[in-house]
């Protein structure tokens, strides 16, 4: 069933494509190219099994469900999400995901993708935090992950290109870089403790190096089906997991530390094509 969505997309892209962002590409093609260009990357090549499974990535099942949710009239206000502006205009999804976080005039601040989605579900559709539609952030069964996967998929193969024109976008990106290197917590870790060198392993996992943009584009390509957890996960879920393992304080959703970290990490993958959705260990 997701095949339909896959086939329909490139046609739509050809018509409305923003040339600068690059062409839509099937996530498996993006991955295959990366693998070919980086034959020595232990991180990219670590799981033959996942590479083989990529054409049947279970995350693709969420695309169609997410599409239905996006266009359905929902919430107390009974409207669809077509009025939601992810930065390219209301309802314009092509290329939107790879150009976030960005500054939004209507709220006067920089928002990352999930923040923006939740903002629209609350402001347009009238959901509140108590509704599971926005309250439940994680798991393949959640509305948020279905919508995230559908919307992100519209940017597959396009280059990460978070805007830095607005001074707040630049400020958040720069703060995110400082946060990446900010040591703290019970183990004195920063993000670079584990993502500073290429080909290093924590137990069995090969870790991506942040300064290698071709490793890093895969690293930040979420949503991704996590085989080990049998669920589709988001960028924010990844941050929460790493922060928890670092023995820092627990990080909360919809908060600016998430936004700053994502501003920086998407920037660190700038110019490289996104794999949306990806499949990870």
């Amino acid at each position: 069933m997701f095949k339909k969505a896959l086939l329909a997309l490139p046609v739509a892209m050809a018509v409305g494509a923003a040339a600068q962002a690059g062409e839509w590409q099937d996530p498996n093609d993006v991955l295959q190219n990366l693998l070919q260009n980086n034959p020595d990357s232990k991180y990219l090549h670590q799981s033959e099994m996942n590479i083989m499974m990529m054409p049947d990535n279970p995350a693709l099942w969420l695309v169609e469900e997410g599409e239905e949710l996006f266009y359905a009239q929902r919430g107390p206000n009974n409207v669809s999400l077509e009025g939601c502006d992810f930065g390219k205009g209301p309802g314009e999804l092509e290329g939107a995901y790879v150009e976030l976080p960005r500054y939004f005039d209507d709220v006067g601040k920089v928002m990352d993708f999930e923040m923006r989605l939740v903002h629209c579900m609350k402001e347009l559709q009238g959901f509140t935090s108590d509704d599971s539609a926005v309250g439940q952030r994680h798991g393949s069964g959640s509305d948020i992950m279905k919508l995230t996967t559908y919307i992100a998929h519209q940017s597959s193969g396009m280059a990460w290109n978070p805007p830095l024109d607005h001074p707040e976008e630049q400020a958040m990106r720069d703060a995110g870089e400082v946060l990446f290197f900010r040591r703290g917590g019970a183990m004195d870790f920063n993000c670079a403790s584990c993502h500073g060198d290429a080909g290093k392993q924590i137990r069995a996992s090969v870790l991506p190096q942040m300064r290698d943009s071709q490793e890093w584009t895969k690293a930040v390509s979420w949503p991704a089906h996590r085989a080990g957890q049998d669920n589709v996960r988001s960028q924010n879920h990844r941050i929460r997991g790493c922060v928890w393992q670092m023995r820092h304080a627990g990080i909360l959703p919809d908060t600016p530390v998430n936004t700053a970290l994502i501003s920086f990490w998407n920037d660190a993958a700038r110019g490289e094509p996104a794999i949306l959705p990806d499949l990870k260990r």
């Binding site: 707040e168 703060a175 400082v178 900010r182 870790f189 500073g196 929460r240 023995r247 820092h248 909360l252």
Partner: protein
Amino acid sequence: MLKKKTVGAGLALVASTVLIAGCDGWLGETGGEVDITAMSAEELADYLVLETGSYRLEQEAQEGGSARDRMTQDGIQAACSLEGDPDAETAGNVIAMARESYEAPPGGARLGNWRRGAELARSGYGYRVGHRNDDHGQREPGGNCYACHQMDPAEELYGTLGPSLAGYGATRGNDSAVVNYVHQVVSNPHQYFPCTQMPRFGRNNFLTEEQIAHIMAYLLDPASPVNQ
């Protein structure tokens, strides 16, 4: 409701912000008065961590104190928040801070039981807080050495972030100079490796002195599988 508060607090301040900084920047959820573009990246990062409700800072930390204490940097954490290796001056300062804050165990460093050390070296449990909290009443926290180091050469799952420690005691022996040195490295490693990625297991109260003694035995006891 958040929104109302922001607008209310923001309105009066927009004018002054615009006048002073010529900029309309502030973070919505922080009460409205902050121009994030007027801060240095370092100031903004600290502000984001400590003032924006991004973390559950009021949560209790297992080692005592709160999660806020964990996110408030001490001298070594602040000095080592850098990319790559520290320059000579920073390294010197960090070594000095580490020496000053090192505590030798009462009665001197000693070796415990390597079997207990083996368990502690494997266990990655402990000290995690947030959406799930590690409960030290249910399970003893460990040192998680294998996440970064090879130790027992027969063990297949190990990390490579730190150097291999296979045969560590077999090549070095375990006289008191070696035992004291290893204690310093496990407890407060920046004395020898300024800005290392290795945690300060003693200084941060992550492992007890007894646990450190067991892990040292795992490394240095001739009977330990690490040295076979």
